[in-house]
């Protein structure tokens, strides 16, 4: 039985500075690992928005099925319903309330393989108000390319200061 730690941070945690940022990007991801995990804590300074996920900066070949709870109803929809520009994967709702950050976890198995890339996305936002959103997403990127870049971006608004994202690699033996 292996005893090495298999959950390893790749690079450093990105923290958005005072000027905000349109995106957080992890580039030159090595194929050293088996799976990828992204953990993000995101806020914007403007208003309710969708956070999107892109692989290798691609803007096509994404499909997904989403389930969303809003505090009053549970619904399910496909990508194009709420994101008119189908240029990324739904990775949760992000708001502008002070001190309130959306938590998001993305799991991508076999990211360096030659099959299409399936993933799992969970995102939660809670604001002590009548409406908040939790999102479960089944995404697929129909590309056989190894994932070397992961990008989080706001659909409309920039990420605010103190937003963070970290990338981890999972090794198996």
């Amino acid at each position: 039985m292996a005893t090495a730690n298999t959950f390893v941070q790749i690079g450093s945690t990105v923290t958005v500075g005072s000027g905000g940022a349109a995106s957080i990007e992890f580039t030159s991801i090595p194929a050293t690992y088996t799976d990828l995990i992204v953990k993000a804590s995101i806020r914007n300074a403007t208003g309710l928005d969708h956070m999107l996920l892109q692989f290798n900066s691609a803007t096509t070949n994404y499909t997904e099925i989403i389930m969303r709870g809003s505090g009053s109803a549970a619904t399910s929809y496909v990508l194009s319903t709420l994101i008119p520009s189908t240029n990324g994967l739904e990775s949760g709702y992000v708001g502008s309330d002070t001190n309130i950050f959306t938590n998001c976890e993305i799991y991508v198995p076999n990211y360096a393989g030659s099959n299409y890339k399936s993933a799992s996305i969970d995102a939660v936002q809670e604001a002590n108000s009548s409406t908040a959103y939790m999102v479960l997403n089944a995404p697929l990127w129909s590309s056989t390319a190894a994932i070397t870049t992961v990008t989080l971006l706001g659909q409309t608004y920039n990420f605010a200061q103190y937003s963070t994202a970290s990338l981890y690699g999972i090794l198996k033996y």
Binding site: T3, I65, A74, S76, G113, N115, A138, K172
Partner: protein, 167 residues
């Protein structure tokens, strides 16, 4: 104090030939929690199932929620002889695999029943979550993952088991 490894690869299988099941046996009690990650294709119309310690008694129950792109639904099942890990069908299309992540907390205790939480993702079918209960106080030492209809998992499917150790 030197920190020990807290997230460890216990075993992993990548299918080089088709198979209707994958078994992880002799799972050590050295960890606190287990994480099972599946990325699979299978013959059309099959679902993931799980049996623990070869128990085929009516000792399993589950509650699920899923979205299929049109609506969200929840349901449950009691006194089952196995667990449907998630509600989504396993993809069968070429190059298309699902992503299933299962957490089994406190799996090795010999005092309490075991709760299992799974997230299933097939972008052509459903996204959802299932919580299951195995009504046994035995420590978990074997996990049998199988298709429900006997169809084979396809080549390239991966099954990985990790152990999380409390520091």
């Amino acid at each position: 104090m030197t920190a020990g490894a807290t997230y460890t690869s216990i075993a992993s299988t990548t299918l080089s030939s088709t198979a209707s099941s994958v078994t992880f046996s002799s799972i050590s009690g050295a960890y606190t929690d287990l994480v099972l990650v599946i990325s699979a294709r299978a013959a059309s119309g099959n679902y993931h199932t799980l049996k623990i310690n070869s128990d085929s008694g009516s000792n399993y129950s589950r509650t699920w929620i899923y979205g299929d792109g049109t609506s969200a639904s929840s349901g449950r099942q009691s006194n089952a002889s196995f667990i449907y890990l998630v509600t989504e069908v396993i993809p069968s299309a070429a190059s298309t695999f699902d992503t299933v992540i299962t957490n089994i907390n406190n799996y090795s205790n010999a005092t309490t029943y075991k709760t299992i939480m799974s997230r299933g993702n097939n972008s052509a079918d459903q996204t959802g979550a299932t919580v299951a209960l195995w009504r046994s106080t035995s420590a978990i030492t074997t996990l049998l993952i199988a298709t429900d209809a006997g169809g084979n998992y396809q080549i390239g499917s991966t099954f990985s088991l990790y152990g999380i150790a409390a520091a």
